[in-house]
Symmetry: C2
Subunit: 387 residues, 2 copies
């Protein structure tokens, strides 16, 4: 186990009909004017928008709005948000949505105080020293953004889907109400589940040894996500399974699983970001294609962990570690296929030629990876495995 | 799953040779004078005391001392600490020790600002509204006190071993250096392991349904604690196993396992507190005796969970849930015996007559328990099962 620091000050309010607490929480934080950030009109259709506005009005909290944040959020929208926030002198951000809305809100919150272009933080050219306080109401459990300091945004001028991390952008309070996710299209629930499992696996397949406690918790989260997802595909109104999925998703990327590790591998995420920066597919679909291919690529070096993975997640134990490692990867692909995800690029009509463009895009931030260092050549090889 | 709020702002610094960071952390918190609280002279013998004092001096942090905190900490010592803290106008508490020292420090930190006797907080007659900031250097992983708001202290006038919880007494920073625990007597490592497992079980056997994610994590912690303890009994200098045990112990009672539950059962802890308030045995020994007896007592109502426990922890699965539940309890007792714990009152020479006194003491705060409500009669019955 590696040395580590664990610190996470986000307050989580979890449960049915907790949305109405948002006004009270903002008041407690002495925030009287917010920028309300959201995506599409679905929050108006479901009534969520009205519930939030009523809660704000009841507590005399002023607000201005930024709507239209897209699933793969873009920098120009962030910049629009920064301008609105500055023009209206807001005191905080209220993000209502999934990862794209919350990540955009983090960039706006940091950009509010940043001299110059906030993209510099994504380029790691400048450090975030201050940010507006962020409050979130989660509508899609997937990225874990509701309880961490990460943000991923695509620069729509350069097609770079990059990320930053800052202690300053952890949400103050996140409200996770599983019930409001029951209206999600099935496809989004599935994408969220794949994203969650991928976060766990990024840490699980980090090469650090002697991390039994982290591995045990990782396996527990993956098993819970798989079981809950299968149940939700039968009945999207199954509140208990939704609650299991939601809380598992938050725990997968709130710092708990990175304790004692080298920080996770993250190659699959880096590669996928380039896939969805160039092709308009969801992050969850991209991960279902890329992650098993990356596992294949590291298979020989990762036999021990893959063997364990196969046994603990799928009950595979023939006694031959190499064979079990192979079977484990196949079982993961089979499970993704079973819940309706694509598992190859050919299925989603991405051509071999396009893979070159993806590899070029990804190699801008290469080399990356802990299990194996990846550069252009290796990235392209993984993309071809995923073809 | 029940609704819940999760919030834990303690910063954990975990790893080898991290003790020296204490001066820097206190400086960051702008604390220039502390009350240094510790137990016996062992921290002087091992050199830990000098390392801490050097770190404080290097950062120009003044300190006064309270030493001699006992394993079952007492109220009169807390009151002594409050007086020293007030007389010297300290700005924070630095607790160096295990649960007894940290719990005493919490009571001192709250007592510093409390009008009247701090015992009122244990009696739940008054609420803690303010406390001095607490910093800890953990020397024995067991109680989880380094990352929560709980404190247990014995009133040495009335023989009541009671507890309080307050959000105000979560440590600001806790340094967990597994290496400094390698000098612990084996008995203390064992007691810590039993205490940790007991904390997990208090939540695990709470009657809330549909808590797969919490149960998975609980089982993972118990398996890790058992494996690490067995390895440490072979070699107390096995750093990796010590690290696993330390971090598992913190996670067992930092709020993670109580999410979505009814708060845990806690009957075994309540009863054990009366055992160790009256008889000078360690909390870990008391729990090894009381917990399996309580499990026997709730066996018929808890078959489903006990059956799962037997399978997930001990690999017991005969296909007969009732039988497996029984075998699981026996396996737990066997494991406690194997690591050298007593599992009955007769072994430690507590008489049947003395059990009456323990039951009377415990029933002062009865009824308690979630699986089954316990009062004097039921408590005595459990004590007799444990005889």
């Amino acid at each position: 186990m590696k040395d580590f620091i664990f610190e996470n000050k986000t307050k989580i309010i979890f449960g049915e009909d907790k949305v109405e607490l948002i006004g009270k929480e903002l008041r407690k934080g002495n925030i009287k004017k917010v920028l309300l950030v959201y995506g599409r009109n679905s929050i108006k259709k479901t009534g969520l928008y009205d519930r939030i506005i009523n809660s704000l009005k009841n507590k005399n909290i002023d607000f201005v709005e930024l709507s239209g944040v897209k699933p793969n959020p873009i920098l120009s929208k962030v910049q629009e948000g920064i301008n609105i926030a500055k023009d209206n002198n807001v005191k905080g951000i209220l993000a209502v949505g999934g990862g794209s809305v919350i990540d955009s809100s983090k960039a706006i919150a940091a950009g509010f105080y940043h001299n110059g272009d906030i993209w510099e933080a994504f380029e790691k050219k400048s450090k975030i020293t201050k940010a507006l306080p962020i409050y979130t109401i989660l509508t899609l459990s997937a990225t874990g953004s509701e309880m961490n300091g990460n943000a991923v945004v695509t620069n729509d001028q350069t097609n770079q889907k990059w990320d930053f991390f800052s202690k300053k952008v952890y949400p103050q309070v996140s409200i996770i109400d599983p019930k409001i996710q029951s209206t999600l299209p099935k496809k989004q629930t599935i994408n969220g589940a794949v994203d969650t499992i991928s976060h766990v696996m990024e840490f699980y397949f980090d090469p650090t040894k002697n991390t039994m406690i982290q591995d045990e918790i990782s396996e527990g989260i993956i098993r819970t996500v798989m079981k809950s997802t299968e149940k939700l595909l039968q009945d999207e109104n199954d509140y208990e399974s939704r609650a299991e999925l939601c809380w598992s998703s938050t725990l997968a990327l709130n710092g708990l699983l990175s304790t004692g590790k080298m920080g996770g591998d993250w190659s699959s995420h880096m590669i996928e970001h380039s896939v969805s920066a160039i092709h308009d597919i969801s992050h969850g679909e991209g991960l279902a294609i890329v992650f098993p291919a990356w596992l294949k690529y590291i298979q020989d070096d990762g036999v021990e962990k893959l063997d364990r993975f196969a046994e603990k997640i799928f009950g595979i134990d023939t006694g031959n570690p190499k064979f079990d490692a192979e079977l484990g990867i196949t079982a993961l692909k089979d499970w993704y296929r079973k819940i309706g995800q694509p598992v190859s690029f050919s299925e989603i009509k991405i051509t071999k030629e396009q893979l070159i463009k993806i590899a070029e895009n990804a190699s801008q931030i290469a080399p990356f990876g802990k299990m194996k260092k990846l550069d252009y050549k290796e990235i392209l090889e993984i993309l071809n495995i995923a073809y």
